[in-house]
């Protein structure tokens, strides 16, 4: 067999390889010749096949593409996103606290009209549009792709809808469609927790095509923001063949989206409402399930109606909210910063016990003040408590005793103990923007270029000074005191029907504090409420419900000078904003803690007078609501005497 590319036949039979240098050269040339021909053949063939691909593309895109060109002029393939319904937020009993309702609206699809301006002009003759609205629509039309509809007007009345439908031929590109909008049935009662939704801003655009849809909302605060992606779901899409007027001829294809998931939170909406009804401006109450950290209620007064954000907040409303000194937009339970006052004394006691600078039996004599150099630190009891041990010092809230413990333990040990109880730490609750607060240390002060003095330690021993603690952290502290576990407050109970993490008490690690120490502190807190002489004796629970243990606190918001003290200073004679804050932390039942509570009443004067009764009322409400419920178990209400 011979082919034209075979080299000259004469050389084929020789053995050039073995015949010296010239033979080698000849053989090499021959080999190269064969290679060159064959490589050219291969290369040309491959380029030819690329040419075939080119012609194939030409046919698809240009010739057969005429089919699609026709579609582009008369009928066109148009793709539309189907927004998934946003997931609901439910309370612990399954009651809807954030749901959806229907919203009829007029949309504009830019690619279906020749002239956006003319269409809007006609539209505003039927349903008047303001200059601002038109500017917004034109801006969005420019910003978005031409097949993405832009909302022209939302929340249409039946009348407007009818008028638009009748005039449809004059309104190319306009279509009426039903979307959903967010509805918060409980209004302002849960707005600090559930948050609210608003139209996405430029910075929210994360590539999710869903966010370009008209009427879509993103979570702006609270649970709505924390679980935004879960609640949002994923968009589906339909491919439609539409004619030049925008009428759908047929559906070509459909991709189903993923509906947003329902999120169940641990809050009891009814409990929350009842508590909010009891408290005044500037007050916050937090109720936790002490065993696992679930937030049962978190109330902060005043609040706002989250439904307002849906349609857009007016400038006047926004001004009112932001100028209001009571800060309705801010959740004081998570973002209000207070010194803990005497509620902090258990931490100081535990720090002293752990450092072995104090034992439960150590007695300190309180003459009503402690002198350090020429500075005098007063006990709240001007005449002194006399000689007392640690338990009585908690019960009577003796300042001098804790000045002494703090002096011995040092600020850094106290701060470390406070951090273990959640104070000054990020508790990772699902509320974006929650404050971390501050527990001062020697290093922190030195970083500011100032020395830490022994006097500072003494002041901080009774929870006054630089501390910045949130009511949520105080409730967490109470829960941790009650259980000895590092429970973290959280709101999410389940997502899409699947239980969230953190619901079981065993999931939370132990704090590593000896039971003996914790028990002593709990006994002290028991005595505060239940023993004659305790600072909050008036706030005990009805015997039928159970036994509460707690601790009062009040913090000065201004320094009281020696002069004022000598002239007979009385807080109640001061203007309201100079009066001290009232605080109370508690847990109950004493022998089997189920609930932890913190109450902060701004300028409420005294913990026992203003805060403790609110805590009692909250617990009574909790017991009444949960006793019947199968969920949390309530221990038999038998006031157990602590061992002496």
């Amino acid at each position: 067999m011979r082919f034209w590319w075979r080299p000259e036949s004469g050389l084929g039979s020789g053995k050039p390889g073995g015949s010296g240098f010239r033979g080698v050269r000849r053989e090499e040339e021959r080999r190269r010749g064969v290679f060159t021909r064959r490589a050219l053949l291969l290369g040309a063939g491959q380029l030819g096949l690329f040419g075939f691909l080119g012609s194939r593309l030409y046919r698809l895109q240009s010739e057969e593409g005429e089919r699609y060109t026709t579609l582009a002029e008369e009928n066109r393939v148009s793709a539309r996103l189907i927004p998934p319904p946003r997931g609901r937020v439910l309370d612990r009993n399954g009651q809807v606290v954030a749901g959806n309702r229907l919203n009829w609206r007029a949309l504009l699809v830019a690619e279906q009209t020749q002239d956006v301006g003319a269409t809007l002009e006609t539209f505003s003759r039927i349903v008047p549009l303001t200059e601002q609205e038109r500017a917004r629509i034109e801006r969005e039309v420019r910003r978005r792709r031409r097949f993405v509809p832009v909302a022209v007007r939302e929340f249409l009345s039946w009348e407007d809808m009818a008028r638009i439908e009748v005039n449809a031929p004059d309104l190319p590109g306009i279509l009426i469609d039903v979307g959903t909008t967010r509805l918060y049935p409980e209004g302002e009662h849960l707005s600090h927790l559930v948050g609210y939704v608003a139209p996405p801003a430029e910075r929210d655009m994360d590539g999710d095509p869903l966010l370009e849809l008209p009427g879509i909302r993103v979570g702006r605060a609270g649970i709505e923001r924390h679980h935004d992606l879960l609640l949002r779901g994923r968009a589906g899409a339909v491919q439609l063949e539409v004619n030049a007027v925008g009428r759908v001829i047929r559906e070509l294809d459909r991709r189903e989206g993923v509906p947003g998931q329902d999120v169940q939170i641990s809050v009891d909406a009814e409990l929350q409402k009842t508590l909010r009804g009891r408290i005044e401006e500037g007050t916050s109450v937090v109720v936790l399930d002490a065993r696992n950290g679930e937030v049962l209620a978190m109330a902060s007064q005043p609040s706002f109606d989250p439904n307002v954000f849906n349609a857009g907040v007016s400038a006047a409303q926004w001004r009112e909210w932001t100028r209001n000194r009571a800060t309705p937009l801010i959740n004081k339970a998570t973002n209000g910063l207070y010194a803990p006052g005497s509620t902090f004394k258990m931490i100081v006691g535990l720090a002293g016990l752990e450092a072995r600078v104090v034992t439960p039996g150590d007695r300190v004599f309180c003459p009503g003040h402690l002198d350090l150099g020429d500075t005098r630190f007063h006990c709240w009891q001007r005449h002194g408590h006399g000689s007392l041990d640690l338990r009585s010092a908690v019960k009577l809230s003796c300042d001098v005793y804790f000045y002494e413990v703090a002096k011995r333990a040092g600020i850094d040990r106290i701060a470390a103990m406070a951090n273990r109880f959640g104070l000054g730490t990020d508790l990772e609750i699902e509320l974006p923007g929650t404050r971390k607060g501050l527990v001062p240390t020697r290093a922190w002060r030195q970083a500011q270029g100032k020395p830490w003095n022994l006097g500072d330690t003494i002041v901080h021993g009774i929870g006054q000074g630089f501390y910045q603690i949130t009511p949520l952290q105080l409730a967490t502290m109470a829960a941790r005191l009650a259980t000895g576990r590092a429970v973290q407050p959280h709101l999410t109970r389940s997502v899409g029907g699947k239980p969230a993490r953190g619901g079981k008490p065993e999931e939370w690690p132990s704090l590593g504090i000896p039971d003996r120490d914790l028990k002593l502190m709990r006994e002290g807190m028991w005595a505060v409420v239940n023993e004659p002489g305790g600072t909050a004796l008036g706030a005990r629970l009805p015997a039928s419900l159970g036994v509460m243990a707690g601790k009062t606190g009040s913090v000065q918001v201004r320094r009281v000078s020696r002069e004022q003290r000598e002239r007979g200073y009385k807080a109640e004679n001061q203007p309201r904003e100079w009066r001290p804050h009232a605080l109370f932390v508690a847990f109950a039942p004493y022998d089997n803690p189920l609930y932890a509570v913190s109450v902060v009443v701004e300028h409420g004067m005294s913990g026992s007078g203003a805060a403790a009764p609110l805590a009692r009322d909250a617990l009574v409400e909790v017991f009444n609501r949960f006793r019947a419920a199968p969920g949390p178990r309530v221990a038999e209400a038998s006031p157990a005497e602590p061992r002496r």
Binding site: M1, F3, W5, P7, G12, K15, P16, G17, G18, V24, R25, E27, E28, R30, R31, R32, V34, F35, T36, R38, A39, L40, L42, G43, Q46, L47, L49, F50, L53, G54, R56, L57, Y58, L60, Q61, S62, E64, G65, R67, Y68, T69, L71, A72, V77, S78, A79, L81, R145, R146, F147, G207, D208, P209, A237, Q239, D253, R255
Partner: protein, 383 residues
């Protein structure tokens, strides 16, 4: 004579320093590769919904890394590569065996293994190593010797072994491509034409007969073999969507980031297999042909290197790697235009994917080494 000849290795560029070699690198070709990768960046930017995340930024990073790899390999003496070729081939086979034993199953086939953060598809690497191994075998073979059937038997086994291993994954598409790359090297090395004709005729006769005798479920298995991504229900879905995208792109395209098919996720795998459709939808026929033109230039460079090279080893490598590149592009574009049913082949330098980028740049590194050392002296042909 062969051993001594090889040992001498005295050539013009023996003493050439690295800097001189850098000067010899064809920078216009490097620039061409950058242009193709830039097309990939733009397309992946669009596939990411108009954002460098999650595809485009990684693509640029990988290309940068591949560029460094390519240039480093380009400076390695081709004779050193020739001596290491066997080792490379053996390593490729070892990885293929490893992937069969411990590989990750993807879409019904064992295809890749994890090496740290990298997912390696040994079948991609194998194609390059096969070219190296065959070129090393044929580098000294004279025309006479190429006529000897016994001499052709070992390299034939060298092709069949990896093809068999890849078939076992199972991945018929890649196995076919590997076989074709091997055949191209055989052809360029001077295997007699009638042998190809004989094998081709044998296959052409046997295949339909074999297919006819198969059961329905066996045929279905072959169909999934050919197109692993298709399930019986969704067969053809991808191709239809791809054709709509191409057709609606028209002559000039819908414009950057305006492709409805791609952005609304009607286009499957738009960042990998169907990236070319995305380009054709947004930039039209003009854009698609431009990209095809750029890729043709790359292919032409491969053959130009083959023709200019003065040693058989380099020539065969250039033809083998050129054919490999051609097959990638051809199979991918033919697939998205609905011309052939095989699926799962990315578009080199443009598709998203680290393993493919790495092996592509490794191949181009070898090609550049051939170019830089095109005048290196090897042993002459022998019988």
């Amino acid at each position: 004579m062969s051993v001594t000849y090889e040992r001498r290795l005295l050539t013009r560029d023996r003493g050439a320093g690295l800097l001189q070699k850098l000067w010899l690198i064809p920078w216009s070709f490097v620039l061409l590769l950058c242009a193709v990768a830039a097309v990939g960046y733009v397309a992946l930017y669009s596939a990411g919904g108009g954002s460098p995340e999650p595809y485009a930024a990684k693509h640029a990073l990988r290309f940068g890394f591949g560029l460094v790899l390519m240039l480093s390999i380009a400076l390695v003496d081709i004779r050193l590569i020739a001596r290491l070729a066997w080792l490379g081939y053996a390593a490729g086979i070892a990885l293929l065996v490893l992937v069969l034993l411990h590989g990750n199953v993807g879409k019904g086939a064992q295809r890749w293994i994890d090496i740290g953060p990298l997912q390696l598809q040994p079948s991609e690497l194998m194609k390059i190593m096969l070219v190296l191994g065959l070129a090393a075998w044929f580098q000294r073979a004279s025309w006479e010797r190429m006529g000897n059937v016994l001499f052709l038997l070992p390299p034939a086994l060298m092709v069949l072994l990896p093809v068999g291993l890849i078939l076992k994954q199972p991945n018929l598409g890649t196995a076919l491509i590997t076989g074709m790359v091997g055949a191209a090297v055989f052809f360029a090395a001077g295997t007699r034409w009638w042998k190809f004709a004989l094998i081709g005729a044998g296959v052409a006769v046997a295949a339909p007969i074999a297919y006819d005798h198969l059961h329905d479920y066996q045929r279905a298995r072959i169909t999934t073999f050919l197109d692993p991504e298709s399930d019986p229900l969704g067969a053809g879905y991808n191709i239809i969507q791809s054709k709509i995208a191409l057709g609606s792109g028209g002559l000039w395209g819908k414009g950057f980031l305006q492709g409805t098919q791609g952005h609304l996720n009607f286009l499957p795998e738009k960042q990998t297999d169907f990236i070319f459709t995305m380009i054709a939808e947004e930039f039209g026929l003009v854009g698609a042909l431009t990209v095809l033109g750029l890729l043709s230039l790359v292919l032409m460079f491969c053959f130009a290197v083959a023709l200019r090279c003065r040693h058989q080893f380099g020539r065969l490598i250039a033809v083998g790697l050129g054919t490999n590149f051609f097959l990638y592009v051809f199979v991918n574009v033919a697939m998205v235009t609905g011309s052939i049913p095989v699926g799962g082949v990315p578009l080199p330098l443009i598709s998203h994917g680290g393993s493919a980028m790495l092996t592509t740049m490794l191949g181009f590194g070898l090609l550049l080494s051939v170019y830089v050392h095109r005048d290196a002296e090897f042993g002459a042909a022998q019988d």
